[in-house]
Symmetry: C2
Subunit: 137 residues, 2 copies
């Protein structure tokens, strides 16, 4: 049975058909988002969610950070994506993004050692790249 | 040096005075929120953030889930709090809530094995208990 087969209510179920309790139709636990695979529209796995950045004042998720490859975390690359570009697909058990691999290769990225969040212009570049209006001042 | 001493810009710094890169003035990484201590106004440690629940559609954090005690996770209790009741204090390196221990003891709680998120009325009870308008339909 597909681990993410849905019930009649659409709520995700585990491999015994029980409704998962770390996820409902509306809510998902933060530690479940971390590690969730990310696919493109063709169903190819692009990477997985490493973590995500929360805006402290508004409580909104600002970026999902995807990680790619890297052996034991060495040489790992991180791609921040505006949260809005990710759609959760319970059937695949992961997020789907409408971004092809070439576009992703040209996107803003950073190395494990040097997260860019101290640079206020960085977030704007990420949103601009994906054509999403930057929601902060 | 206090690990969370702030710079002139208010950005959190690590123990070498470098600006932390998993946290800025505005943003905090999801895996940094998890495990962060929670204090009351008197500076007493009440517990820590176990994880938090994100509303999938809006991308808003709906609940921070505090954990208390329990040996190796056995008998651990979880207290969901509306995200709005938590204020991050960089000087204490944790969240501060204006809730005394008695009020917290009477609050909605659940055991490790039985998260209540499948029950739509549960979330409303949590918001009602803390006197915050329930933001969902």
């Amino acid at each position: 049975m597909d681990r993410h087969e849905t019930t009649v209510t659409g709520a995700p179920t585990d491999d015994r058909g029980r409704i998962e309790t770390d996820e409902t139709l509306d809510l998902i636990a933060s530690d479940k988002v971390e590690g969730t695979p990310v696919y493109n529209l063709a169903g190819e796995r692009l990477g997985s969610v490493y973590n995500f950045m929360v805006d402290k004042r508004s409580g909104r998720v600002a970026y999902a950070v995807m990680s790619f490859g890297g052996f034991l975390g060495i040489g790992r690359e991180y791609h921040p994506l505006p949260w809005q570009v990710l759609t959760y697909d319970p059937h695949q058990g992961g997020y789907v993004v409408d971004i092809d691999a070439d576009r992703l290769r040209g996107a803003p990225t950073y190395d494990a050692g040097t997260p860019p969040w101290g640079d206020p212009a960085y977030g704007r570049r990420v949103y601009d790249y994906y054509g999403i209006a930057y929601p902060y001042v």
